[in-house]
Subunit: 226 residues, 6 copies
């Protein structure tokens, strides 16, 4: 039985379209394939998405549907960049539905995608993909290196957590000073994590090698258990 | 400018595949078209979905992705029934993506669909469709006739509400005795309602004529304001 | 060279959405895959199809095209149920064209489908699939356990047949008391059976294990030779 | 309510790729559109289909599925020729499913198609299209100018018929000297004609102007009533 | 008969994702629609395309197919931005084939697209679209304001041309100091211009209002005649 | 690493739909597959394309887009014939985009296609496919047996060339008596050959066995080096 898992990469990783970082992701992902794993990668949109959306909004577009559509297009562009440098393991195009993701995972060792539909974060996409391919692990290459006890930008005494349950994390997100700060994991993501018992391994996007560490049962970030 | 809105019909309305009720929905929807409105209808799966899912689950299927996929297929079957009796206003098939919904709304006066993707309720689909077509009204033909101050099944003193804001409703859903009872409106629905300022007109599914009453500025149910 | 064949299951098998029967189909089909066979399963609509079609008809829908479309949707729902319990051998969705069936049979060991187009029985679909994948055997899990010399419901002296040629069967169907009683095998099915020399192994749908018996050269039903 | 009907043109009409005949079809079909009708045209394959199929067969291809696929491709090529000379009334491509035919008929005044799936004659396609678009008339531009009482090539006393019911025609096809000579109307076509009560106006393919005559309630061929 | 034409906008116009410039394009394009024209807009990729392609290339990707694919994705992102601010005149997605462009032009007043396939410039796409929709005018919003007698960057005495034939332009492109400098109009574009007798109105991308001037028979740039 | 290459067969090879020649192509292509190669074959339209286009043109169609569309349909018919006789190595349908070609080459050993889009020769398609699948060799089964120093039909002293660089060939094509005689290799083909460094092995279409000779490092035609 082939082991499959999902890697979610925050759009921030693409902000500088940093060739060095991309190269390290390539090395890590190809390494995993060579060990026999199969991987689905979900990319975010990042600053470029915000820039394009910003122009549309400044011109009076207020439909969240259309603004999200632009963000999805950027996340797919980022996916395409990764897809291209991961040849020959990847399919000829970026899947745009979960069914395509499933079809491609029957044939290709690495599948890369961006967002799927408006009104859904790429984090939620990653959880849905995990559910669809039957993966119980998502590596979340995030803009922060750990889940903290408090907002680390405001509280110098905030402490990084090694482990946290999804229920505890949900409570933390609801009760903290900035209520509704769901940028880390939104509610739809949390619900899928719970219902499908997905373990999320969170670490900073600038350290792709941490995926390998997690797989060696080391813990360079926070493990969120269902 | 053509006025468009969304009608969400709970799967319960299809439990008995009640020809009389379907006929009344037809009369109401055709009446609206003749007044110049354009409508998108979103149907749920109901008991038939639960039955099919139940068999799959009893045979050991525990993937929420695949179980949801069955539920979506049933919701689309219900959509197809409505679509068929609403000829010649409806397209030749049930759309399965938001883009198809949009394409069809440029050509057909009524578009009927069921679920779109696993991990998303048909209530959330209705809100996304509203967002996509730029509708600010969703008529929610629900299993209850009003939002109540408490769970009416348990509390004889529960009172039906004429109006409630989405923030108040969210609080009500979170704090009531059975926390997380999001069957009425799940979190993803609530988020889209908030972000796109959708007004939800809720009434009981057995009274399709209430849609017309709502449009005449009467209030036979509960109006949930963004 | 991989051996491929087609299994046609009457919609009646799904009437009670009988988990026990489904489980036995699963056991038989997985058993065949493990012996190296590849199988395409075609499912009918059954009572649920008749119920939904009945509502549409009672509301004045008289287009056979649209009524058939509803029947096809139900047959696909039945196909989806089987598809789901046959993971991981099956593709992510129910194919809706013969080309998709062919594409999927290059990748997946079991492919399940329902009807394809209005005006065509699922028996005819099974024969077309056999023709398309180059299978010379169709196992027909039917509402009767044998072809009889006469209508067994009316004639106590009707005798079950072990073998019959398709020409003899055709004559039987044309000359019997109720002319045109093509519910067993309609004319399009008969034509494809003849032109592509398909052998049909007919048995009762409640005995999936008979497929294995047929493959062991036993004959628990009627063999219809081209 | 727009009047729609179907024109079936035998592949023989394309044997010589006769520009003069094509031009007359164009004149007739555009004339009809200008009178407010909407038309779906179904074309056959003709001699070119037989030639390509002949080569494949001579090289050992005996799969009726693949041989039919070639015939369908030729019928679509013929459709494309007509489609091209009927601009601007026609869509950008030849539809390959009934759903596409339906979608196109909502937008374009003339839709042209060839075959749809193996194992189905283009006559049957024409009847299915009629059923799908709700047309009760099919103009059958055939290789013979009338239905005759006997095979006119063999019996000098064969008489052309002005009218015949589909039941009578079916009996005639079954009982005549060459049993099973279903090249005129095969059994699937006959079944759809019966079940959907389609009237077929048959005339010779070399006289496209006869379509107009039929519509003026003249009868230059044979009218087959359901 | 509706008048249709094509506007090609160089990718440079999107380099700064300049909201002001986008707004002016919007004003001009909506103005044209309100005068009864229908427009197809083709956008290039610009600097963002070069940046993403640069990263891929720096990581060793040397397949022109995959590098072009990235450029196409960026050109479609630019198209999506324009598409979004041009609601409600535009379709729900960016077409990716000429057939989709044609289908959309039957329904929507403005259609925006980027590149179509690797190995083809977006200038060539614009010419192909003109050919496909039967437009005889392409407005080329280019990185230069005129065709010059010589390379204006190198030769202070280069003179802007009001008119030039496509044959003269081709000769100019072939004979000038840097032979093969086809960035203005590549050979495929030139061939389509010639064979379909397209007139190209070239002006600087920063002046969208020049489209209106050209349509009023003024000449603010260079007119390239076939 | 599997070796892949492209075979381009001129439409002339299909002019007589010569079974003997098709059989020899089959033998050669199957032979290559059995040696472990994977092949993509691109077919032209030939005389049949010219005939159908001729009728359309004689009826006043002057849109190169629609005329090319007919030519593409014929080239796909020729592709289908080859595809059919090359079972079981080929996919169920003729791909119509480069992405489909790529998807099919992951699954099937031989993929056959015709033209892709109007305004592009099938020679250019062959070069694009080579670029897309990463093949550095195209076998060009052409209407001439060699590249000659002059037009051999006019100049008895024209000499066949064993080798020529693409730059030399381009010059030859531009300077010869009939300027612009790009029927051998058009400019788009030449550009892709150059940019992706493709070696073209040209020989006469009536000698499919020459492909094998080329692969054994013999040279029965002209080798065009990038």
């Amino acid at each position: 039985m082939v082991l499959r898992f999902v890697v979610k990469i925050t759009g921030k990783a693409f902000n500088e379209i940093n060739a060095g970082l991309m190269d390290r992701y390539r090395a890590v992902l190809k390494g995993l394939v060579e060990k026999g794993f199969r991987v689905v990668v979900v990319t975010g949109g990042g600053r470029l998405a915000r820039d394009y959306i910003g122009v549309a909004r400044s011109l009076g577009v207020d439909s969240n549907y259309w603004l999200d559509t632009i963000g999805i297009a950027v996340s797919r562009l980022n996916a395409l960049l990764l897809n291209t440098i991961l040849k020959p393991y990847t399919p000829p195009k970026i899947p745009v539905t979960l069914e395509q993701v499933l079809d491609y995972t029957s044939i290709y060792k690495i599948v890369v995608l961006g967002g799927l539909i408006p009104g859904q974060s790429t984090a939620a996409v990653a959880m849905e993909v995990a559910e669809a391919i039957g993966a119980d692990k998502v590596f979340y290459m995030s803009a922060i290196d750990h889940v903290y006890t408090k907002d680390p930008l405001k509280h110098p005494d905030a402490k990084p957590l090694e482990k946290i349950t999804i229920d505890e994390l949900e409570k933390l997100l609801e009760t903290k000073s900035l209520p509704g700060q769901y940028w880390l994991l939104d509610r739809q993501s949390i619900e899928i994590i719970k219902r499908s018992k997905i373990t999320v391994h969170l670490t900073h996007y600038s350290k792709p090698e941490n995926i390998t560490l997690f797989l060696e049962n080391k813990n360079p970030g926070t493990i969120i258990t269902p």
